[in-house]
Structures are given as C-alpha cells and as structure tokens.
C-alpha cells in the first residue's frame, strides 16, 4: 500500500516539474545572492575588502572585538600606514611631489582631483599606481578598515560581534528564497494526490470498509515523508551552494554586530540563522503540506482544489516573503507583536494547525457511514 501511494506521488512528470521549478527558483532568486560574494573581476570592491578585513580580524581576535583587542586593531592600522609610508619613501615620484606620508598623499589627491594649482593630476595618477605596489593593501582596504574602526567606536555597548551587515542581509534573503523554493515543492507534491482519487471516485471504494478508511493515514504519511524528503534535498543543495560564499567563517559571530545598525530580536549566532530557517522550512512544509492534503481530499476536481489551495499558497507565500530581516527587530512580524522568535512560532502554529486539521478530517472519514 505504501509503495503504491509513493508511486502516485513520485510520477515522472512531477519529478521533471520539480527539477524545472528548482532550476527557475535557483537562477532567478538564489544565485544573485550567491554571486554577490564572487571575488572575480577587476578592481577592488568595498564589500570584498570588508569581508577580507572581517576574516582577518576573526582569525586574529575571534568572533568579537573586546576593548583591549580594539587597541591592537588601531595599532595595526598605524603599522599599515607606516609600511605604506616606508614604501613611498623608496619611490622617486613621491619625493618629487613632496609627499612623505599617506596623509600627505590624501591631501595631494583631493587637491589634484579638484584641479587646484600646484597639484599635477598626472603625477597624482602615477603616485596612485605606485602607492601599494609592494604591499598587499589598496586604497579601498584602508577606507573600509577606517570605516570599520569608526563603526566600532559608534556601536552600542554589547554590539561587538564581527558580522558585516551585508552578510546577514544576503544570508537572510538567500534563506528566505530557499524557504520559498521548499514551499513550492511542497505544494507540487501535496496538492494533486488526493484530488485524483476523489475525482475518479476511487475514495468511495477505498472508504467503503473500515480497513479501507485507514488508507487516508497511509496517504497522509506518504505525502508528509515525501514533502520532508524533498525539502531536505533542497536544503542540502542550498547549503552546499551557500558554502561556496565562504561565509561560514562568521558562524560563531552574534547578530549583535558593531557593523550593523539593525538590532537583533533574538540573542543568536550567525550559524543559528541557518538552523532556525531550516526548522521554519520543515515546520512550514509539514503545515502547508498537511493543509493542502486535506483541502485536496475535500475537492471533487482539480479546479475546485486549485481554488482552495491558491489562497493558502498566497498567504503562505506572503508569510515567507515576510521573513526578510528575520530575527531582527525591523522584521514585519516582530514589528506587529514584539515577541522574539515569532517567525519560528508562526511556522510551528501552521504545522500544528495542519496536523490537527488532518486528524479531524481522518476522524470524520472514519466515522462516516455514507460516502
């Protein structure tokens, strides 16, 4: 019986449809978030340099910056400037222009770019090319280093984790679209199964005996197992793709980062974001899959099923899209109720409702004598 029900779910057309939908979802919504972490291309990107500095600080100081460690960071910046100044003193062009230090170079740069007299733009360009030649630094690196120091000094007490705000935003966006991907696969698996039995009047034969009525349980469990199986495949694929971004180095960093103006609603680490989103996706899969299964069993034909499932899909879709900024205080759900972890609680409620609805539906079928 179980095998037969699984065969009904896993038809070749459905598998092809799942693959097509997955490709569309990945290329449209998930890959842009992954591509932001690409290190290829010419020139120096501010975000890439920020990532580089953050990883260096994590390697040297751990996931948080304590005040005594911050003084080492300030000293580190001075050492970099000193190294650049030594490098400059060995190059003729800087001596020619009377630029002896990095600060003097910045002043020359401002004046040359503004076309001030006495400051040659061509010489400035030559100095800019020579400035970092024998070093592993660049102007964007220094800029971002200074910005990060300013951010630390301005940050509230307790906000000392090293987690660039871009990483937390892109991660939550990625996980939100991953949840949407899971949700769509859940609908494709759980919606069509029961309605085919009802439309072909097979359920009347199935439910004509006490033993036959138990098939509802078998069908339900096969659907839920299939839903969870598909979701796990999608989640594993998503995590494998996300691992290419090299952001798991921030796993131990709290969301209370000095580099972010957003305030977390839960005291969790970056790695916990993934765990919580996986829990949300699985709970939502169980809940939505269960409700869709029940609606499908109560629909006399496919169109009736679609009319019932579409509003559910829209509401659930909006819940998932509302997971942007999840676990931060500017999340739309937190903003309404001010309950930490409301995002997970809502998914849990949906799962419980789905299970309760199906238990009630099964009891109604088991008790009914007339089909």
């Amino acid at each position: 019986m179980v095998l037969q029900e699984l065969k009904k779910i896993w038809t070749p057309m459905r598998v092809i449809l799942l693959i097509l939908v997955s490709v569309l979802m990945y290329t449209s919504f998930l890959s842009p978030n992954v591509r932001r972490f690409d290190t290829g291309g010419n020139g120096f990107d501010a975000f890439q340099e920020k990532m580089r500095i953050s990883k260096e600080w994590i390697e040297n100081y751990g996931d948080t910056i304590e005040p005594e460690e911050y003084s080492k960071i300030e000293k580190g910046f001075e050492e970099i400037i000193a190294q650049i100044s030594v490098n400059m003193s060995q190059k003729e062009i800087f001596n020619e222009c009377g630029v002896g230090s990095y600060e003097e170079f910045l002043v020359y740069e401002t004046n040359a770019v503004n076309g001030k007299e006495g400051f040659d733009y061509e010489k400035y360009k030559e100095m800019r090319e020579q400035l970092f030649v024998d070093t592993s630094y660049n102007s964007v690196y220094l800029q971002e280093y200074q910005k990060m120091m300013v951010d630390y000094e301005k940050a509230a007490v307790g906000n000392n984790a090293i987690l660039p705000w871009e990483v937390s935003i892109y991660t939550t966006d990625f996980l939100m679209y991953l949840s949407l991907w899971c949700f769509i696969t859940v609908l494709l698996i759980s919606a069509p199964v029961m309605v085919n039995d009802v439309a072909s009047n097979m359920n009347k034969e199935q439910y004509s005996s006490k033993v036959g009525r138990r098939i509802y349980k078998v069908q339900y469990w096969c659907t839920i197992v299939s839903v969870l199986f598909t979701e796990i495949i999608v989640i594993v694929a998503g995590m494998a793709i996300w691992s290419t971004t090299d952001t798991f180095v921030f796993s131990g960093a709290g969301l209370n980062s000095f580099m972010s103006l957003r305030e977390p609603s839960l005291n969790i680490w970056y790695a916990d974001l993934f765990t919580l989103f996986i829990v949300i996706a699985l709970l939502l899969g169980i809940g939505v899959g269960s409700i869709t299964f029940c609606l499908s069993s109560r629909s006399s034909n496919v169109i009736s099923m679609l009319m019932k499932v579409t509003p559910l899909a829209v509401v659930a879709g909006m819940y998932i899209l509302g997971l942007g900024n999840a676990f931060y205080k500017n999340n739309v759900f937190y903003g309404l109720v001010h309950i930490p972890g409301i995002e997970v609680i809502m998914a849990g409620v949906i799962a419980v409702v789905g299970i309760v609805v199906n238990v009630a539906n099964y009891k109604a079928i088991a008790k009914s004598r007339n089909m």
Binding site: L24, T27, F29, N301, I303, M307, K308, T310, P311, V315
Partner: protein, 356 residues
C-alpha cells in the same frame, strides 16, 4: 438562451467560487489595513490643504537626457530596439512640455504622503484585484469547460454540432459571472479603501505632481519623476487604470478560452495557463541576464504578467520595461485582438476534433 441560463446557474451555485471571492475580499481588507498606517496623517494634511505646493521640476527635465540613462543598456545588441527607445524618449518631450505648461508638478496630490497613497491604491490594492480577477477567470473557464469531462456527459453533449455550440454559452456565462464577481469584489474593496483614505480633496490633483515619484530596484534613478504621456488628474488616472484592468481581464478570458478549446486534457490546459502567467515573471529576471538576446526581454514586456507587475507605473515612460509610448495599452489591445482570433480558430479546431 436556456443553455446560457443553465451554464450561469452551474457556475453561480458553486460554493467554492463564493468561498474564493470571500477569501479575496478578506485578503484585500488585509492589504488595505496593512498599507493604511499613514491614512490618519493624510487627514491632518487635508485640513490645511493647498492644491499647489509642489516644486517646479519639468522645466529642467529633457526627454532625451532622461532617456540617455536607458539607451545603450539592456537593448544594446539590437539596433531596432535602441532606435525605438530613442524615439520613445524624443516623443516624451512633448508631454513634459505639456505637464510643465499645466504646472502639473506644482500639484500637491497628497503632499509628503503622496508615494504612500499612490502605492497603497495603485500598487498594492489595484494589483491585488487585478491578479484576483485573472485567477477567477482562469478558474471559471477551467471549471465550466471541464465540467462535462468530470460529469461524464462529454460524449452526449459534444456529439452534435448544436452541442458543440454550447461553448459560446459557456464563454458568455464565464464573462457574466466573472465580471459580476469582480465588480462586486472591486466595489467592496475600493469602498473600504476610500473609507480609510480620504480622497475628497485629492481627486482633482495631478498624478505627475513633484511629490510623486517612481522607485524601482531596476531603475538607474533613485527617485524618478512620475511623467505621464498625457496630463491625468488622480480621478482620470484611476478611471484609466480601471478600464485597462478590465481590458486585461477580458484579454485573459479570451486567452484562457482559446487554451481550453484546443486542449482535451485539463492538466495540459492548467499547465499552459500557469506557464503563461509564471514564465513572463521569471523572464523579467532571467532574460535580463541574456544581453545577447535583448529581443527576448523586449517581447516579455508585452505579456499580461509584466503589465500587471508594473501596473503602478502605467501611462508613464516605464524606463527599460517599454519600448513604445502607451505600450501597456497597446499590449492589452494586442492581446484582445489575438484572443479574439485565437477563440475563432480554437472554436473551429474544437468543432472538428474528436472528444475521445
């Protein structure tokens, strides 16, 4: 005539239809409440309302200068499309002059709250109603056309020529019930909206006010002025939007009819209709990543889905998303014409094909 009454009766007695419309109404109520957090501030603004408190912006805007941000970007690999974009923005200069002459930019509209008001009405509520209408017509067409298949009366009904002509009764019953349902839904939704948002003093304001602007993640401009092809008051813009919305519903109704007439299988029909709605949406993201094939992106912008997606920017230049002036209107007319032709051809195919 008796067949049309029967078809109407079959559709209108469908409890799921009523449940669907009720859920849509509740959803619209949720959308209205969620987007109405600044409605009380609007009442405060309207107490000392001055019709003209905006800034002069149109005198400094040049159509070609505005267009230069779009010219050699998305359509760069197609000379024809680039030429059409150039032409579109040259044609925009006349409307800009007209708007400047009428001092449309000085119009207050809803003052500092203009973007919220405009978004609440035209982006959230109207778009939701449009999508609900498309879904309703899809469900009604599928329901009515596959009813005989479900009830196993297919062979009896379609075995004669008169029986096959029942498709016209079905067509018009879907049109009547669909339009009636959407009129009731729209009236109730807009009634609720205008109870919360006081538009009494806003109706005669110009939508091209300097307080109104377009923000779109796909735009090179942070805040682009709302430059319409002709001068619209808010009332006129709202009416034009409603007319175009009805046009979209009619076009979708015709395309759905064409799909079910040429298909025997409900799953194929559902697949085609779902694909027709979903693929253009994904196309907006995917075709943009194929700069060697700009024609794909351009063609996609004529689809119903993309028109609905950018409905809050209707009757403006719409940047990358159009290559012709009034493209959204032309697109709907094109769909209506193709739909009518499609239904005509579809009926002839249906009349001749076997039912088994």
């Amino acid at each position: 005539m008796c067949c049309i009454k029967e078809e109407i009766r079959k559709l209108s007695y469908n409890k799921v239809l009523i449940a669907f419309l009720t859920i849509c109404l509740l959803f619209n109520a949720g959308v209205i409440l969620a987007s109405s957090n600044t409605s009380s501030e609007l009442k405060t603004i309207l107490q000392d309302y001055q019709p003209q408190s905006g800034k002069e912006i149109f005198k400094d805007i040049d159509g070609s200068g505005l267009g230069s941000m779009y010219y050699d970007e998305r359509y760069i690999d197609s000379h024809i499309l680039v030429a059409l974009m150039h032409e579109k923005y040259q044609k925009l200069e006349l409307p800009i002059e007209q708007l400047a002459k009428e001092q449309a930019d000085l119009s207050t509209y809803a003052g500092e709250l203009t973007p919220y008001v405009h978004r609440a009405l035209f982006e959230y509520l109207t778009k939701a109603i449009m999508i609900e209408g498309i879904l309703l017509f899809t469900f009604l067409v599928l329901e009515t056309f596959f009813m005989e298949q479900h009830n196993k009366t297919l062979y009896t009904v379609y075995s004669s020529l008169r029986g096959r002509r029942i498709v016209f009764d079905k067509m018009f019953s879907v049109l009547l019930i669909g339009m009636l349902g959407m009129v009731i839904l729209s009236c109730l939704s807009y009634f609720a909206f205008f109870q919360i948002w006081d538009f009494e003093k806003i109706w005669d304001a110009n939508v091209a006010s300097s307080f109104n602007y377009i923000t779109d993640s796909d735009e090179p401009f942070l805040w682009k002025p709302f430059i319409t092809w002709t001068s619209f008051t808010v009332k006129q813009y709202f009416c034009a939007t409603l007319v175009l919305m009805v046009g979209i519903w009619l076009a979708w109704w015709l395309l759905s009819m064409m799909t079910v007439l040429v298909n025997k299988r409900i799953s194929v029909a559902i697949g085609i209709l779902a694909g027709g709605l979903i693929i253009p949406f994904f196309g907006l993201i995917l075709f943009r990543q194929l700069p060697e094939l700009p024609e794909l992106y351009c063609l996609n912008t004529f689809s119903i889905t993309v028109n609905v997606y950018y409905s809050h920017m209707w009757f403006t230049d719409q940047g990358y998303h159009t290559i012709l002036p009034w493209q959204e209107t032309l697109s709907v007319i094109l769909h209506l014409v193709l739909g009518l032709l499609g239904v005509f051809v579809g009926y002839h195919v249906f009349r001749r094909k076997d039912v088994c």
